[in-house]
Symmetry: C2
Subunit: 237 residues, 2 copies
Amino acid sequence: MSPVEGDAAAAGSASRRRPGPRRSLDRTKVLDAAVGLLDEGGPEALSIRAVAGRLGVNPNAVYTYVASRSALEREIVERVFAESELELLTGPAPRWRSRLVSYTRSLRSVLLRHPAVAGLLMTAPMDGPSAVLIGERVLGALRDAGLAPDDAARGTYALIVQVVGFVALEVAETDGRPPLAPEAERIAARRAALEFLDPADWPLSAATRDVAAGWISTDQFDWSVERLLDGLVQRAG
Amino acid sequence: MSPVEGDAAAAGSASRRRPGPRRSLDRTKVLDAAVGLLDEGGPEALSIRAVAGRLGVNPNAVYTYVASRSALEREIVERVFAESELELLTGPAPRWRSRLVSYTRSLRSVLLRHPAVAGLLMTAPMDGPSAVLIGERVLGALRDAGLAPDDAARGTYALIVQVVGFVALEVAETDGRPPLAPEAERIAARRAALEFLDPADWPLSAATRDVAAGWISTDQFDWSVERLLDGLVQRAG
DNA sequence: ACCTGAACACCGTTCAAGT
DNA sequence: ACCTGAACACCGTTCAAGT
């Protein structure tokens, strides 16, 4: 990539210079392969054996770099979190709301570009470095909104739950294979599926079919975030 | 179970009375077996083959009653939703808030008693009859709160996302085998895991470690629901 | 209609061995 | 240290056959 080969090569030349089989893999290649599989084939395309196959090694070679399938899945989520535009969260204090709104939109967009990864969102704790950094920045924005530290911390989690929960349920209605159908198409399919709602049995739901069809929409996403923010700031002094 | 054998036997005697192998299974037994496996052995205990084994039949016999493993998972969630105390959602209009708060608490409790089922919450659309009925009743409570129909419909989904998202992330931090460790214990484990937060790197997060440890707590759950409700009613006339 | 029997094409993970 | 080779104990699902 660059004239000098970077950290790994530098460290290697200094400490270890044995003939050996000369490593054919590294952690990055394993993760690239895993995300590539999910992005091309959807949720079912991911397996340790498929990752190994894509890298041209035996299945068990993967275990040199990841402890287990579930550890691999956690790192995949972490890597996609790292793609979100964190810089949207920083800015002048009075603009705390637009910072949060634009960042949550950005995070949703990133996840919708990797729908099969989004399907892994709620299956393991989000405790990687990117998740921690996102938390720190959201916390900062809510402090800028005037919330006391403890309320800002609680609000941070409520917002994260709303955002990742929304996206997880949104992709759960798809096959997880990118690119997803356009939003309008997905809403229309939901609208058709809600045709069954009989006003005699579920009057309120039947009367708001069109809104429920849009539960996966960008409008509903933004609206939910805004309402939650309204509730959070209401109790700021 | 009772002197007369119930619906199935009655229907059977009237319409079909052929010798045959006399069915050894039905849909209910399959679902009972599946939930039983999850409740005893956690998420990994569920497989089509294990369900068959528990019922003493061949693996493929299960396919007479469920179309696929993922269809089975959807029905498992539906069945656990049906265990929630829907009657908590009905009552006098002015008590809309306490109806919503007590129902969401009840739903969380039910799900935490079936943690491996809770792990399936975000992997498929919740479109079963119980989910529809829950939606109808939540919608009613939000109408009682004074929200316009469309806002009530949007609010219903925001609330569902918050509740199921919260529980899914909560159980994702456990092994999914019931009974879960007591909440205080799970919070203490989180507190210990957050010890690494260096104030130099993440000052705001480090300062609110104790709150973040309690992100899986009943207090945080209630607080999140209340703040969202605050945001929802703020725009009611 | 509902089950058995047998097979297909996979899994994650572990262990021993090579270099 | 990092890979190969081989195996263990599983999967979901399909098809043909029995009754």
